[in-house]
């Protein structure tokens, strides 16, 4: 990574770290993980299951909210506030700016996920009193959540490169919701014949497949995750993000900064 991308990434990270709203969201996520303990206590024999389910869902949901919340403003805010002018009038290429912003946001989300994961493991220790070997799969679920963040970051950045923050948020969140049901969408596409089937199939493969990246239910039941799934999901998330980022770069490269 070149020095300019690193500088933009670290500045993006610093901006997020100094934003109070971020702490409110993290606090809320930790509170939800804590609440899982109490919900677990009234769920006889399935405390651990509830804690893992609720805890990881909180990490995922709040991470997505943070990714969209910060991601949609990454480019548009810089244009609106004209901070971009003093950056792009330096030897910074437009693609370097986009990639730097992406790494900054992704870094912020990884650090957030780390702290929220500590909360989940603390809650788990509280209800189960000790860890089991199968709890290690929780780390894989967390890794998949981070892959989801990478995809949603790139999408937020893509939308942010051509539309307003509000529209970008609507687009990104809609894609997250649709993507979470992408397996159902693929099932539906397989059932429908003719042009409607082709359209459904196209949409099913176009939206990010967040269903495949959600293994919270499996790890909550202590099920192992196949290494093939880990490899394919990694490849899928990296490719999807790369394509979305390329789109963002392509649009931004030709944009007039009025």
């Amino acid at each position: 990574m070149n020095a300019r991308i690193m500088s933009i990434a670290s500045n993006t990270f610093r901006e997020a770290v100094r934003d109070r709203v971020l702490y409110n969201l993290i606090g809320f996520a930790l509170l939800l993980s804590g609440a899982a303990i109490f919900v677990g206590q009234i769920s006889i024999d399935i405390e651990k299951l509830v804690v893992i389910n609720l805890g990881l869902t909180a990490v995922s949901l709040f991470g997505i909210v943070i990714a969209i919340f910060i991601g949609i403003g990454l480019v548009s805010k810089e244009i609106d506030k004209r901070t971009l002018y003093t950056v792009l009038s330096r030897p910074v290429r437009r693609w370097e700016f986009i990639i730097g912003k992406y790494f900054g946001l992704a870094g912020t989300l990884v650090v957030n996920a780390f702290f929220m994961a500590i909360g989940v493991f603390a809650a788990l220790l509280y209800v189960a009193h000790h860890y089991q070997a199968s709890d290690g799969w929780i780390l894989v679920a967390l890794y998949f959540i981070i892959l989801q963040f990478l995809i949603i970051c790139s999408l937020a950045l893509l939308f942010s490169s051509f539309s307003s923050p509000l529209l970008s948020a609507v687009f990104a969140f809609s894609l997250f919701v649709i993507g979470s049901f992408s397996e159902d969408l693929r099932g539906f596409a397989a059932l429908v014949k003719g042009p409607a089937g082709w359209v459904a199939t196209g949409i099913a493969y176009l939206v990010p497949n967040f269903s495949a990246l959600n293994v919270i239910g499996m790890v909550a039941h202590g099920q192992a995750i196949a290494s093939r799934l880990i490899a394919l999901n990694t490849l899928y998330a990296l490719l999807y993000s790369a394509v979305a980022l390329s789109g963002a770069v392509l649009i931004f490269q030709h944009r007039n900064l009025k």
Binding site: N11, E15, T83, Y85, T86, S89, P91, R93, N256, L257
Partner: protein, 314 residues
């Protein structure tokens, strides 16, 4: 040697409207050259096309036609961007950063060597008088302080060509004076300065040449004295006596009698006729002083002429 800035027919048309897009001309083909070490004032009222021109030179907006070169290289060449500094109009910076952090960030983006960044930032903060506020977050800065930070970031990396968009905007009289001094220092250092302004006195005090732009079209370029000489000036005549020759009224003289002297301001072209009239009346002439037209008078005349020609063709 290539000129510092070479604008070769830069033109910009924006498409406006939501459903039915229609073209709106922001800048007619602009041809302008700025030599190395020159201070050029880019003058024009608000909305004249100054900022559009600067944005195209910075690669922020793409021209519809034409091209521009800085130090002989294309404006979008990253190599050239390391050699230029830019202060946007009404700058806004990352307000969560302190002035020191901001300069360090820009220093890294400009390719200033790691060890030099801290030193350069310190020097620049001292140069713009912000050393005591170096560790204060920019959200607590006044408009004038932000303008100073803006100037510091523009010259941080010791650029050869400096572009300043309305650099005096938001500054109090002391601040304006300091910026003027700073621009004078830049000129002494041999830097090329291209600055836009609508404050004519700033341009008059600082520029080697000025370029006047109005409604997206370049109306005149030249040294301040050259441009103002094209405006019909006035002459001040002072003579001893308490009377004004009757013929003075026909010469459009504006006369004032003070004690035993008379002061008259007349159009330059009536100077000889007025002196003849004084001779005929045997009045003792004390002085004849040409009153130089100000840049403001030039500017107003050009704008009037432009409006008349638009009215005439309509």
């Amino acid at each position: 040697m290539a000129p510092a800035i070479e604008i070769l027919g830069l033109e910009k048309t924006y498409m406006v409207g939501f459903w039915r897009k229609r073209p709106k001309l922001a800048l007619k083909p602009l041809h302008l050259t700025v030599e190395e070490g020159e201070v050029l004032g880019f003058l024009g009222p608000n909305g004249a096309g100054k900022t559009t021109t600067l944005k195209m030179l910075m690669g922020l907006v793409f021209p519809t036609a034409g091209e521009a070169k800085i130090l002989g290289m294309d404006v979008n060449d990253p190599e050239v961007k390391a050699k230029i500094g830019f202060l946007p109009e009404q700058p806004y910076f990352y307000d969560y950063l302190t002035a020191r952090e901001l300069l360090a960030y820009y220093g890294r983006l400009s390719g200033v060597a790691g060890k030099q960044i801290v030193k350069r930032a310190e020097t620049m903060l001292a140069r713009v008088g912000l050393q005591d506020s170096a560790d204060v977050q920019l959200r607590k800065f006044s408009k004038g302080m932000l303008q100073r930070v803006g100037i510091a970031q523009a010259i941080l990396h010791d650029p050869q060509v400096v572009f300043l968009d309305e650099p005096m905007s938001g500054l109090d009289p002391m601040g304006r004076r300091e910026v003027r001094d700073l621009m004078g220092e830049l000129k002494k250092e041999g830097k090329t300065v291209f600055f836009s302004t609508h404050v004519l006195s700033d341009a008059e005090a600082l520029c080697d040449r000025v370029a006047v732009i109005h409604q997206g079209e370049l109306r005149g370029v030249g040294a301040v004295a050259e441009l103002t000489s094209s405006v019909h000036g006035t002459v001040e005549l002072v003579w001893q006596g308490k009377s004004v020759p009757a013929s003075m009224k026909t010469l459009n003289a504006d006369c004032q009698i003070t004690g035993d002297t008379v002061r008259a301001v007349i159009p330059e072209e009536n100077q000889d006729l007025a002196i003849d009239a004084l001779r005929r009346d045997k009045l003792r002439l004390i002085s004849v002083i040409p009153m130089r037209a100000t840049l403001e008078e030039y500017f107003v005349e050009r704008l009037k002429r432009a409006e008349t020609s638009v009215g005439g063709t309509a």
